[in-house]
Each structure stands twice: as structure tokens, then as C-alpha cells.
Amino acid sequence: MSLQVFFLLAFGGAAVWFGIVVFLTHSMVRSALALLFSQTAIGAMFLVMQAEFLGVLQIMMMATEMSIMAIFMVMFMMDPGGLGEMDMKHQRKTSLAAGLVAFFGALAVAVFADWGPLATDIPDAGEQVRLLGFELLGRSMLIFESAGLTILTAMIAATALAVQARERGAKA
């Protein structure tokens, strides 16, 4: 087993373990940060697989995103510190079944899909950044631009809703 495979397995295991911790803890902040470290481990997996740009990007984006999620969870949940031992699991049987189906589905795709020949000559990190740039501004431009526009619309809508709610509260 090469060093690369060893680290891939180690970070993969860490990602799964932190994913499980999300549901084991009662504290909202612990739960959000466990999800963050799960995502960071996935970023580290990208780095091990020599996809440097994707790895660094994943590690950077998740830190801020999950922290923002943490503050929303603290604001909206009734027991953010978990001192009341609120259960993180809801509709236990249904979610367990859904999780298992999704897991085996993904596993089946991983095992049975035809992944084509194994890449042998991997472009160096600088070349990868260049190729990714051409991809984003070339063939995939429409997809990324529509995704960006959708997110922007959602942001504006969310802000508008938040502002209205505050004004309604102020009147009452």
C-alpha cells in the first residue's frame, strides 16, 4: 500500500468519523464544527489525490461556510449548547433507511461504474489551475454563471425576507 493510499484512507476515515460525530453530539456548535472538519478532511483527500487547487479551495470555503451555519444554528435552535440533551436525530427509522439506501447506492455506483482508464500523467498544480480557468470561462461558463446567478438571487431574496421580518417586528 503506497503512502498516498494510506493517507487517502486516513482522511477518508476522518471525514466519515466527523460526519458521524455531527449526529452524536447534543451541542449545535460542536455539530457544525464536526461537519466542518469532515469537509476539511475531504479537502485533504483532494490534496492527497494531487488536485491541489480543489483541495485548498474546499479547505478555505468550508471554514467560513460552516462557521456561518453554526451561528444560524445557535440563533434558531432552542438548545444551542446541548445542555438539555436535545436529540439531533429526527424520524429515526426513515432517516436511517434513507441513509442506508443512499450509502449503498453510492457504493454501487463506485463499484460498478466504468471509470475509464486510470490517469497516469497528471498535470502539475500550476497547469491544473490554468486548465481549470479555461474550463470555467469556456465550456462550463454557462453552468457556472447560472449557478452564480441563482445563488445571488437566493441571497437577495433572503436579505429581503430578513429585512421585512424585522420591520414587522418593529411595528408590533
Partner: protein, 299 residues
């Protein structure tokens, strides 16, 4: 050999930042100040709160230190004097420093104290103000160098430093960098006199020492990045390369700490409003201007 030199440079740099911070806050230049503070903190009792979140409380200072140290890994002090020249260096700097936020949230939440908690969550608000203003000026620096590698970025400034080529980007990055290192007037998370130390309030003894050390490395890292991105890194006449890096980094640190001290602390609402209503449009203008410059006057 270069590993020893880098560790030496880091130690001297952090010590110098600690002396400069002491000088900027108390107006006294005490060269032995950091040694005395370290000994005092080592002798102090490490108090642990009731009902704390032990995991976060213990992890936070270490995470702050590790994040700041990692961000220094891509800073070149001279050609060849760098921990690792990543092809994604400029992006990696951001990725490492994103964990400063996580560390401060942990430090605020961990000890179960009101001041700390307010300080930690405040820094999240501060991040929403400064994050884009760090990334967008770095984009234009990378546009000119046509690379994210920090060595290529310094080399791209051989004819003209970026502070002259893209002054608007420099101003935005310097302000956002100060907010990132939470030095005054952006010291919202630990606002002394208002939050009694905020995120640091509940830390004592060795834990506080690690926290303070992490903070010093963070300030050093932001000053080094400003030097590399805008002040031509090691470039300069007569003196050896490393000397230019050292002079520039310490000068930026001194200006950052002394200049910030003269200004009143910015409220987070005001900071957010300025950042989003003024800062981000200016950063977009900067991207456009530099884009035109790179095509028309490729220096």
C-alpha cells in the same frame, strides 16, 4: 540549512512583533517585555471554567497558532528561502487564515463566558466584512503575475511594485488585513475596555500564552503577505534579499500597529456597511482597472 534559517527568522520575527505591539499599546519600547510576559504567563495558574466545552477551550489556541503558522509557509523571504512554493500559494494563504475564525469561535464558545462568546461571534461578523476585501485584491495581484505562486508574484514586481501599479488594491488589502489580524481599530473580538479582552478574557496561564503567540504569528503573517503581494517582497538594491524582506515586514507591522492605535474602534455594523457599500464596489473597480492595465501597460 534553509529550515534552520526559516525557524530562526520566524522566532526573531514573532519576538519583534511582540515588542512592537507592546510599544504601540503602551508607548514604551521594552526589549525584554515579551520574555517577562512569557515568564509571568508560565507562572500563572491555568483556570478552567465550570460547564466549559473542554474540547473547544483547549483546541482554540492551538488551532489559531497552527493556522497562522501554515499561512506563513508560502511566504518567501528570499529566492529559495520559503517553506513550500505552492502553485496555489496566494489561495492557500486565505485557506490557512480562514481557520483563525474557527479558532476564535471555539475560543469564544468554549469557556462558557459572556464576554468571550460575544467576542467570538463578533469576529464572524467582522469576517463577513473583510473576507471579500482580502480575496478580491489578491485576485488582481495574481492577474498581473499570471500565477498564484508567491515567488512568481514577487518576481512580477521587478519593474514596478504593486503598491504603485495597483494602489487601490493595496489600500483595500491593508485595511482588510488589519481586520483579519484583529489589530486596532478592528479589535472587535478582544476589545479591551469594552469586552474585557473578549475571546482572550477567560484564558490564563499557558493557554493564554499559546493564544497570544498565535496572535503574534498572525500579525506577522498578514504583514509578510502585504510585503509579498504589494511591496515587492525581497526586491531592493544594495542589501541582501532577506534583509529587504525583514525591513519591509517589520515596517508594515509597525505602521499597522501604530497607525491603528490612533483611530477609534470601528463598530461592527459600521464596518460591515463600509465594507459592502464602499469596499466591494472599489475592489470591483480595482479588478477592472488592473485588467485594463495588464492588457495595455504590461509592466
Amino acid at each position: 540549512m534553509s529550515a534552520v534559517l526559516l525557524i530562526l527568522a520566524l522566532t526573531v520575527g514573532v519576538y519583534a512583533v511582540a515588542v512592537l505591539e507592546d510599544w504601540a499599546s503602551h508607548n514604551r519600547l521594552r526589549l525584554l517585555g515579551p520574555v517577562i510576559s512569557t515568564l509571568a504567563l508560565l507562572g500563572q495558574e491555568s483556570v478552567l471554567h465550570r460547564k466549559n466545552d473542554r474540547l473547544f477551550f483547549e483546541t482554540a489556541p492551538i488551532l489559531l497558532l497552527v493556522g497562522a503558522l501554515l499561512s506563513l509557509a508560502i511566504i518567501p523571504l528570499a529566492p529559495g528561502l520559503i517553506v513550500t512554493d505552492l502553485a496555489t500559494g496566494a489561495l492557500f494563504f486565505n485557506a490557512a487564515l480562514a481557520y483563525v475564525l474557527v479558532a476564535l469561535i471555539m475560543a469564544g464558545w468554549g469557556p462558557d463566558g459572556a464576554y468571550g462568546m460575544i467576542g467570538g461571534w463578533r469576529f464572524l461578523g467582522q469576517l463577513i466584512a473583510y473576507a471579500m476585501l482580502v480575496v478580491m485584491p489578491i485576485t488582481t495581484v495574481a492577474m498581473r503575475a499570471e500565477s498564484l505562486s508567491t515567488i512568481t508574484i514577487v518576481e512580477s514586481q521587478a519593474q514596478l511594485w504593486n503598491i504603485v501599479y495597483q494602489p487601490l488594491g493595496f489600500v483595500l488589502f491593508a485595511i482588510a488585513g488589519m481586520a483579519m489580524a484583529f489589530v486596532p481599530p478592528f479589535d472587535l473580538p478582544n476589545a479591551e475596555g469594552e469586552l474585557a479582552g473578549g475571546v482572550e478574557a477567560e484564558y490564563t496561564g499557558v493557554r493564554r500564552m499559546v493564544f497570544r503567540l498565535g496572535r503574534m504569528v498572525l500579525i506577522l503573517s498578514v504583514a509578510s503577505a502585504t510585503t509579498v503581494f504589494y511591496l515587492g517582497g525581497w526586491l531592493g538594491p544594495w542589501l541582501p534579499d532577506w534583509a529587504w524582506s525583514a525591513i519591509k515586514i517589520l515596517a508594515v507591522t509597525a505602521l499597522m500597529l501604530a497607525g491603528g492605535r490612533m483611530l477609534p474602534r470601528v463598530r461592527e455594523g459600521t464596518l460591515l456597511a463600509w465594507a459592502w457599500k464602499l469596499g466591494i464596489p472599489l475592489a470591483l473597480v480595482n479588478i477592472f482597472l488592473v485588467g485594463v492595465l495588464v492588457l495595455v501597460v504590461p509592466l
